[in-house]
Symmetry: C2
Subunit: 333 residues, 2 copies
DNA sequence: GTGAAAGCGCTAACAA
DNA sequence: TTGTTAGCGCTTTCAC
């Protein structure tokens, strides 16, 4: 038999409203009644039905996190601390997390089942595409959201990001100062906003020197681990034109390292390598690699904080947080 | 104004039931009516309220995933492929994921807010403790669940796991065959079931040789990255008694590697090192480390598969899947 | 302080 | 085939 709020009310000899008040604490009842109700709840082992509560109160205490594809998640060391940051903040604020992976590029469905999206009070959305359907949907449905990464129209939207342009500028500049001029940039898919920002940073550093950034030195790759090896291979002998590589996603790291090793190109003597946003890989290979810390935990924590603020109307105007980046030098002496 | 199923029904000049049928496809209506309703839905931009649907249908199409603490998630390379496997399977079967991190050891609350747990059709629960409150709650609430990892009472519960005892046996045996007798085992917290299984495997291999497994060669550590370095350090000079290490969680890897390096103990010449369940770290240091592949993606995929089967009553009796393990040798010649 | 009752928006059994 | 309507279990207003 189902134990509902009514069961409890009957047993305690009160109305359902009284039980609800005790549960929520939104209204004070007399001590005797309160005790009676609490006893009934205890004895019956009553647990409120959250769905019914959600329906009546129009509040789910749940936040949706739209992340990247599972292929991407698998090899992404950025993902874990980001998620941890989100969860920690939400836990503090008594919210929960609903996780959506991105299956948009899967062949079997060209339109995501966005109607499934609803039982959330707000959403976190990672690396939106240039024209993002999820973003459009959330806007249209009036669901508050915070973008992780910089969106196409920053002025209209809440977001938190690291300054990717700065990061990529710092990385490029660092290489330039080391005497590198022919740098190979291994970037993500062109339709990601972050790729746009990445490219800007490289360009800034080159522009500053009055150098041209050639198109063939910018390689765009799908976010999959194996790709980078193949990409370098397909460059063939031209690889020797380059004296440095910037990898914009850690997922490319292993492929790059393997390739360099297979071709007996040592790092950093003949080849210098910079990775964005990865402390893990960097640490393992500590003596040979420079990386930039993109502080993913902080991003997660901040974005959740901002979202809850919006949900609870503590923040009204579109705004953003930019998490600072640090260059972590790990070069051998 | 709120657009509900009634708005649509009125506009199309039909009943709410008709609209519901079109939406769910659970009952066929005449082509004309169907078209009329679809048009109304389209024009109004109607999206069904999922919460109301859940309440009425008593089905959420959502699965809860009880994972470890965020501290643990942060450095766990096992987590990503596990999650990816879960998500991929759930997506195939049209289910969604609600993610709960474990804050049980946090000081501020000794009892988790389990009542928040309810809007799920089933749960995946990772590495349950010896007496797990979540597990008890799920049982009591009659929420179907699958344990990832081997539970305390395997015969009563659905679970999927790798054969951890076998894995740890294989690792230990491997070392023994290499001529190692003094092996240091770096294990997780003692109240985790998996630690129990790990220990069993080591013991089996030693028993087989008629050797004793000494208590001080079994080090139990919290699941945090820094711990392993300190643990080794505190062993002091005794470290030279050991010629091999088995790390039972990848999270200890970095600390161990750093320690060995700092103390000029080279791997594997003087010291052999085996890690369980990590292909990432293993790959990076390919020539010097042996690891065991615990196939986390498969575990995730399988456990989700099993859970949905239970939810949809295709599986009735407690059962389990054991994912096979492989020794990955990466020793230098 | 307490209770009655009207929703919340949808599903599905039943009737027509 | 289509419509009526009684729930689903809780919250919250309003009257007492």
């Amino acid at each position: 038999m189902k134990i509902t709020i009514e069961t409890v009310a009957k047993k305690a000899g009160v109305s359902t409203a009284a039980v609800s008040y005790v549960l929520s604490g939104k209204q004070k009842l007399s001590p005797e009644v309160t005790v009676k109700i609490k006893k009934a709840i205890e004895e019956l082992g009553y647990k409120p039905n959250i769905i019914a509560r959600n329906l009546a109160s129009k509040k789910t205490w749940t936040v949706g996190f739209y992340t990247s594809s599972t292929k991407n998640i698998r090899g992404d060391v950025f993902f874990n601390p980001l998620l941890a940051g989100i969860l920690d903040n939400l836990h503090q604020q008594k919210y929960q997390l609903h996780l959506y992976a991105d299956y948009l590029n899967e062949t079997d469905e060209d339109h995501p089942d966005l109607s499934l999206t609803q039982p959330i009070d707000g959403a976190l959305i990672m690396n939106p595409r240039v024209n993002d359907v999820y973003l459009e949907y959330l806007k249209q449905q009036n669901i508050p959201f915070v973008v992780i990464g910089t969106p196409a129209e920053p002025e209209k939207v809440f977001y938190v990001d690291v300054d990717l342009t700065a990061a990529s500028y710092i990385a490029t500049k660092h290489l330039i100062l080391k005497g590198h001029r022919n740098v190979l940039f291994i970037l993500g898919p062109e339709d990601l906003m972050q790729t746009v920002h990445h490219t800007q940073g490289c360009k800034m550093a080159f522009d500053e020197m009055g150098w041209e950034l050639s198109a063939e030195s910018l390689v765009h790759l799908p976010m999959a681990e194996e790709e980078s090896y193949e990409a370098l291979k397909s460059i063939g002998e031209d690889i020797h034109k380059y004296s440095a590589i910037v990898a914009f996603h850690d997922i490319y790291s292993f492929g790059i390292m393997s390739f360099l090793k297979d071709n007996q190109i040592s790092v950093p003597q003949n080849m210098m390598y910079i990775s964005l946003g990865n402390s893990l890989f960097c640490r393992v290979n500590s003596p040979t690699i420079t990386s930039i810390d993109l502080a993913p935990y902080d991003i997660g924590f901040q974005s959740a904080e901002m979202l809850v603020d919006i949900i609870e109307k503590r923040r009204m105007q579109p705004s953003h947080s930019i998490i600072p980046v640090n260059l972590i030098k790990r070069e051998s002496a």
